[in-house]
Symmetry: C2
Subunit: 258 residues, 2 copies
């Protein structure tokens, strides 16, 4: 099972303060990481912040020791200090290298030789080829050598800024189960849920507009498998996107039995 969430590029339309904007995107990053979301999709909903949201989400997802190399200083990153660290398995601390350990790293070329910065005191010799950020396994400690590898545990999320409307973004994601969240949806406590398998996507609206309204705005329609109210009997008139993301993922984490 792989979780996807879909958030609008208008996520920050009611948040003018640059520090709070950064913090709020950081909250989405945290919610995604806590519940092991693998893909965050940013869809076009009339907002202007798609690039900023992507930047902050990717910054938050990147292990601390790789940030300097991957994110040159720029004004949009001014407030990233307020984002709480994700502390996921792939955000490793320094420590001593261990044989078989998997670490995130970045390729560094020295002449014809390839090295990787994997967040340790020394660079690792890379066996094989590659470029940019990669996942490595330590195959020798002395000398320190790594090969490209696949993660074996939750290893962060990928961010997709599609510049496409919601229905088109959903098509691109090729979900097995597409769930829209809506205050007007069916009570999640009363609906019979299909088995939670394959690629599962949760779609969230913006601060001002629900999912269905956003679809209508763009003359779109989408055959959701379910339209769910994941916060039945809410006592506030609205639930903010970042609140809905955390609450919905918490509820589905409870429902899933694996």
């Amino acid at each position: 099972m792989a979780l996807h969430i879909f958030i609008p590029d208008s996520l920050l339309e009611e948040t003018p303060d640059p520090k709070i904007r950064t913090y709020k995107v950081g909250q989405i990053a945290r919610a995604a990481a806590i519940f092991g979301v693998e893909h965050i999709w940013i869809y076009k909903a009339g907002g202007k912040d798609g690039k900023f949201i992507k930047l902050i989400l990717e910054y938050a997802e990147t292990p601390q020791y790789l940030r300097k190399a991957l994110f040159p200083i720029r004004k949009e990153l001014k407030y990233v200090g307020v984002i709480p660290p994700l502390r996921t398995p792939h955000h490793k601390l320094k420590g001593r290298p261990a044989l078989g350990e998997i670490r995130e790293g970045i390729i560094i070329k020295k002449g014809k030789r390839l090295y990787a910065d994997i967040g340790l005191d020394e660079l690792a010799i890379v066996e094989g080829s590659g470029e940019g950020r990669m996942t490595f396994k330590i195959v020798s400690v002395k000398p320190l050598k790594v090969v490209s590898a696949k993660p074996v545990e939750y290893w962060g999320y990928r961010v997709h800024l599609t510049n496409k409307t919601l229905a088109k973004t959903l098509k691109k994601a090729r979900l097995d189960l597409a769930i829209a969240t809506s205050r007007k949806g069916e009570d999640v406590r009363k609906v019979k849920l299909p088995p939670l398998e394959g690629e599962i996507g949760f779609v969230f609206g913006s601060p001002r507009k629900g999912v269905m309204e956003i679809l209508r705005d763009f003359n779109e329609d989408y055959p959701f498998d379910l339209i769910l109210n994941t916060i039945p009997n809410q006592k506030t008139k609205t639930v903010r996107t970042e609140e809905a993301v955390l609450a919905t993922l918490a509820v589905f984490n409870f429902i899933r039995r694996d």
Copy 2:
């Protein structure tokens, strides 16, 4: 059923930025309001922010039109503009007065006569006595008259800063069901829950310490009815208090069937 949450006065121990501190307490306020929490208890856990947390929680809970009268300008309130409005039933907009309508207000004395500011264009004549902030029902529109009344729907929360340790705070709250949240607790999906009735309290730890550790620090013990992990299989090393509050309330909102 009435919900209580218990948060430590060390909630902000890892948050130095004053704007983010305010925002974070605002998140607790929002989570409480979304799920209809009636009591927020702040217990002593070695932190220094009990008063600040109480102030911000109470500010957030107060209808906008009463804030000026109830909260004189002070530096701790400098960043309250970043708190999203609760938009609960008792945060009413201006509009026209309606017979039978219940509104939150504040008593204003003019000579021997009592009036109430209930957030409308004119003050209301108060039938009966009272002082400070009260809940009123409109019994006449022309002239505008109100009497003291009881709310009939969710009407915000009360904040209790006990200056007592957790076990003592819990005793004071006289709960029917006391649930500690802990990463090391029983998986909420696997435990048999008692009926959710009466006064139910959820206890949360601090950014650095879990509930059990905080009790131990003060040489205390408490006979919790349940110690629950409400976020089984979390992928991050820690879950922040404000995240745990929202997630736990979301899960129990799902579990409750009323």
